[in-house]
């Protein structure tokens, strides 16, 4: 009799307590969902801000590239007084040729970074966590920016060489800076390779297979 009562009490107790657990579970689920959404929104805002900053920086770099091109004649005029017109023109031509190659390389690296970002956005939309890859991409983007900044410094120094009393000696500083730019470009490339290796290392779940990392 006592056994039967105890069973009744336990069953009734379980029936009374069960909705509390279900409700608590739903509240926790709801709160977790809300937190996830808030985090996602914050992340999107940060990404948007970074994109805008990058665009502003790109415009600045573009303007500086144009200024360097338009100042070419001034440099030739200054340098021809020391090395003669023909040589001054050839030097300007060689330097511009090299600058163009560097700028093309920077544009290519930026383009690759944009494509990687697009891939990450799609992978994230498929439900995968790509925060580590985004951090690595930020490192790579910073390195690409460093290449453009260093190239700007080398161009400024080249302008100073044209005005210098001893262009040959002044050019040694340009050489040093340009070699630094070349090394920075390789570092940026290496950083992009690291992002790609990290993406390949992602273990995409069921959701991830809907946007395969081909």
């Amino acid at each position: 009799m006592v056994k039967l009562r105890l069973t009744h009490v336990l069953v009734i107790g379980a029936m009374l307590v069960a909705p509390v657990f279900v409700l608590a579970d739903e509240v926790i689920d709801g709160r977790a969902l809300q937190l996830r959404q808030e985090f996602k929104l914050k992340q999107q805002a940060i990404q948007q801000e970074a994109k805008q900053n990058r665009e502003v920086l790109m415009q600045e770099f573009k303007a500086k590239r144009e200024t360097f091109k338009t100042d070419a004649q001034k440099r030739v005029d200054a340098l021809k007084k020391k090395v003669g017109e023909e040589r001054a023109k050839r030097i300007e031509q060689f330097f511009n040729q090299m600058v163009r190659k560097f700028e093309n390389a920077i544009d290519r690296l930026n383009n690759l970074a944009d494509r990687i970002e697009s891939r990450l956005t799609k992978t994230e939309a498929a439900g995968n966590d790509v925060s580590k890859q985004r951090d690595l991409l930020k490192v790579a983007r910073d390195k690409i920016t460093a290449v453009e900044t260093a190239l700007g410094d080398a161009k400024t120094q080249f302008g100073a060489t044209a005005l210098s009393e001893n262009p040959r000696t002044a050019f040694q500083k340009v050489k040093e800076l340009v070699k630094g730019v070349a090394q920075k470009a390789k570092d940026a490339h290496r950083a992009l390779v690291d992002v790609m290796n990290s993406i390949k290392g992602l273990r995409l779940g069921d959701k991830g297979t809907t946007t395969p990392s081909r």
Partner: protein, 80 residues
Amino acid sequence: MEDNKNKKLVWWVVIIVVILIAAAFAVYYWQSGIYTLPTGQGTTLLPPSDTVTSIEADLNATNLNDLDKELADIDKELAQ
């Protein structure tokens, strides 16, 4: 009269089939990235793909050697 109607119907069917084939080709070329978009400076290919394979291929094809080889030429000019 009936024969004339049938002929017209056949022509309509032929025209619709031709349009469908042309549309299918257009979609195929558009999606494969062969189609070119007109821009202010001639034509350009559609944006490159963002698949891991294509990004990796372009990353590997990026040659950063000899970017500064003109330095030696400038040095020679200045040394004269």
